[in-house]
Symmetry: C2
Subunit: 226 residues, 2 copies
Amino acid sequence: MQGFTQPLFSVDSVLFTVVDGRLKVLMVKRAQSPYEGLWALPGGYVDVAQDVNTEATANRKLKDKTGIEPTYLEQFKAYSGHERDPRGFSVTLAYFALIGYQDAQSQIATVEQAQWLDVASLASVSIAFDHRQIITDAQQRLVQKALYSMLPVYCLPAQFTIGQLKDVIETLIGRPIQRKSLIRRIESADMLEELDEMAITGKRQAKLYRVKAGAEVHHFQRNLEG
Amino acid sequence: MQGFTQPLFSVDSVLFTVVDGRLKVLMVKRAQSPYEGLWALPGGYVDVAQDVNTEATANRKLKDKTGIEPTYLEQFKAYSGHERDPRGFSVTLAYFALIGYQDAQSQIATVEQAQWLDVASLASVSIAFDHRQIITDAQQRLVQKALYSMLPVYCLPAQFTIGQLKDVIETLIGRPIQRKSLIRRIESADMLEELDEMAITGKRQAKLYRVKAGAEVHHFQRNLEG
DNA sequence: CAAATAGTGTCTATTAGACAATATACA
DNA sequence: TGTATATTGTCTAATAGACACTATTTG
């Protein structure tokens, strides 16, 4: 086949959610060397007997290490080089995932070594490998997508109000947006459906929405202001 | 380290150029099994003794197999699974590259097994692995980027006219655009500089432009019409 | 001057931002 | 009824499309 060493190949996932106006990332405490005891992204090696592809690896490792099955998962970026793992040249394929906080909490409860860390406070946390850089890059991608797509709906539970979606988008992009602009985009995207139920989040009740079955993430022709 | 088989990991590049209103992709004829004699993307295995990361692998393999050093190279997407290579579970990390046709021709001359294939005519060509799918995906990405960024400048030689850039963009996105819109975008992107020289491509001479030294690919807030 | 390509001026269409106006629910 | 949140109406700003107009070069 070939005469020289193959790089060590792994898959890692950056699973984000938004809660109380803060962006959180799910991390696990490493049980083994290297970087034992440090926080790391949930991930691991492909099991060629079990995984049909690397996306399956990402989902399996998330489920095994944290209990969570994300509502959104997309391939993000590969990181490679000699420096990122003391064991030698390695490649990790990073996936980018989203889930609503409440949906996650019902799945995560029993797994103690998995925790939501505040992305804004990561500077004071010890992080394994180059996972700090991966999180930073993934966050930038999430912010960009929040400006031109409906992706942020996957940071919410299955049913949500426009006000909750507005809060999530504002948290992601770090500045307020016009509710009117969001409503116009929801209408033109045709990706959500209005439910009969209402939610009591403020004084007046708000309409509840959910993602239409089989809907693709809508991309707009124009960004929200960056 | 770990007790089970690692997937076979490789790096492939989709190098595009535009010539005479046609999108071309650079492919090489496979000299060995599997898929001996079929066209494949230039790529190969990481040499951990030589490559600092997978981008270095992409550049090295392009240089070795085709003689070309692209002016633009970005990581694109990983493809994985049991089906894509008869030797077993494999992962290939695909890069996406651009070069001006004239610049490429001066480098490619001596390598005979590398050829520019017309992307619109690939249906009638026998292609190895899942490289046909990779090319299709990369083309879609290129079209999207042509709609919201200045990326198409890297399909041209170092010096070019607005008319040539317009032709390239129209080839990529498959429909005419307004010259006026392109000029407005060039001015607001602030990524090109006007040269003193003029080019004779039609009746009236046209100003020559080049990419400013160290310029980043500009992204616009709005797409050209899709 | 006619023809062809390069480049400019300007009007329209679309959609995001701003913010006023109205609606609803509850104390 | 007053207040807070939800929702709608409408004006402005920014930028892409359309297209007429001017400029340059060659035959």
